[in-house]
């Protein structure tokens, strides 16, 4: 369980959060819904320790977010943001590199599952041989979503991760994440496809 307690954050004199509270339980599906510039990304970044709140605290299973608990938390996280930039090289080289992170030592990579995910997200298997610079924005975004799933993460932080996808694919991706009951998902979006899902708990940003 993750608790955000009395979080306040301002940017350039604009108050984004003022004593904001949130509890995230295992299996929750939470949507941060609001216009851009209302602090959705910042909130997700605070969760990950990439951004410090001006005041307030974040707890992971009762332990305050610090240099130990944050790295522990990140092990379980799959994070996808809008316009993920992979850098250079072939897709499979990136996958291999990420599979070899010391945190993933116990994973047993399975080619079959990878191919299934690619198929599910309408990507050809040949994409693995492609240069990252040569694939389209939509393909890149789907690849960015597949990687953490393939790495068997259980806590997904999706920052406008479906924005670059067409409506059909968007729905498919959203259902895919929501249908895994055991996964915790906290997403930010400003598209309707997320809103209409029954299991989602919506938190509106920028309305204080």
């Amino acid at each position: 369980m993750i608790t955000l307690e009395n979080i306040s954050l301002s940017f350039a004199n604009k108050k984004l959060f003022d004593n904001f509270n949130l509890k995230i339980n295992r299996g929750d599906k939470i949507l941060l819904y609001g216009k851009s510039g209302t602090g959705k990304s910042s909130l997700l970044k605070m969760l990950l320790g990439f951004q410090m709140p001006d005041s307030g605290s974040i707890y992971f299973n009762g332990k305050i977010s610090d240099q130990k608990s944050i790295w522990e938390f990140r092990k379980k996280v799959g994070y996808v943001s809008q316009d993920t930039d992979f850098g250079q090289g072939k897709i499979y080289a990136l996958l291999t590199e990420m599979l070899h992170y010391s945190n993933h030592r116990e994973l047993e990579p399975n080619r079959e599952t990878l191919l299934n995910y690619l198929d599910l997200f309408d990507l050809p298997a040949s994409i693995l041989e492609k240069e990252m610079a040569d694939i389209s924005g939509g393909e890149k975004q789907r690849m960015a979503l597949i990687i953490p799933v393939f790495l068997q993460k259980s806590f997904f932080i999706l920052d406008e991760a479906t924005a670059a996808l067409d409506s059909g694919m968007k729905k498919k991706v959203i259902r895919f994440f929501l249908d895994h009951k055991e996964w915790t998902v906290i997403a930010s979006a400003h598209d309707r496809e997320w809103l209409s899902q029954p299991e989602i708990k919506v938190i509106k940003t920028g309305e204080e």
């Binding site: 240099q67 990140r74 996280v77 994070y79 993920t84 930039d85 010391s102 790495l151």
Partner: protein
């Protein structure tokens, strides 16, 4: 075989040549006259000073003094290299000094001992001169790599965060940037070695031959020096990146804003 002397009057006669660039600058309104005159004057003064201190350094040839002098050169190099970059002096001066000093000193001593078998490893003519040459070459690579490394993380923060937030530890997330930084730093030296002797004759070789060495001896020095330069550039660059990694990121793995001198964004 003695090198022809250059008399002071000859220096003046040589300076007459400068009338050509000055004329061109005037004609094309390059506005470079002031800086040309200033830079020539500075060069002359600095080199006279260098000639003077080297003369005394060679005469005294005190191992401690030579070593001390080399360290002063490292300190000056560290300052100049950071000043010419966008990096924060306070965060970078110690790691830069340490990495340049340790790698260059080790390599020059290795060179003096195993390659040219000097009796006195701290002999001024070799320690200061060869050390200085290694230093001059490695400091450029150093700062290209360090500022490239930190700028690239800042520019591609998304990519860095993607890896951090998908299970990478800090070192693993930084690896692509480390590779990129080191490669950019080493490419110029590799390119130089590729064309050396065909496109240009390096200054050291030319100098040795003017000083009376045989071409064969001069090229052997050049080869060994290039290898030493390449090694010291690689080692000091890798070291500075590793050393600054600790101080330039917070405990959450986020790059500190103070890495750069001025805050352009936000």
């Amino acid at each position: 075989m003695q090198t022809q002397d250059i008399r002071l009057t000859s220096l003046v006669i040589c300076s007459v040549l400068l009338l050509i660039p000055i004329f061109i600058s005037l004609f094309l309104k390059l506005k470079l006259i002031r800086s040309t005159v200033l830079s020539v004057a500075r060069m002359t003064a600095q080199l006279f000073f260098a000639g003077l201190y080297l003369k005394y350094l060679f005469q005294l040839n005190n191992p401690y003094l030579n070593l001390f002098w080399l360290l002063i050169m490292v300190l000056a190099a560290s300052f100049s290299v950071i000043k010419n970059s966008e990096l924060n002096l306070r965060l970078f001066i110690l790691p830069t000094f340490f990495s340049l000093a340790s790698t260059n000193l080790l390599i020059v001593l290795y060179f003096n001992n195993f390659v040219i078998h000097l009796q006195n490893l701290f002999e001024a003519r070799y320690l200061v001169v060869i050390g200085g040459m290694l230093l001059g070459n490695s400091m450029r690579g150093n700062i290209i790599a360090a500022s490239g490394f930190y700028k690239s993380i800042k520019r591609n923060e998304n990519r860095y965060f993607y890896h951090l937030a998908n299970g990478a530890n800090q070192f693993e997330a930084l690896k692509p940037y480390l590779r990129e930084g080191l490669t950019t730093a080493l490419k110029p030296t590799i390119a130089t070695m590729m064309t050396i002797g065909i496109v240009s004759l390096p200054g050291m070789m030319t100098g040795q031959m003017l000083g009376g060495s045989s071409p064969m001896l001069a090229i052997k020095y050049q080869i060994t020096i290039m290898i030493a330069i390449f090694t010291s550039t690689t080692a000091s660059t890798a070291l500075i990146l590793f050393l600054t990694n600790r101080s330039c990121f917070d405990v959450y793995g986020v790059m500190k804003k103070s890495v750069f001198k001025s805050l352009v964004t936000k």
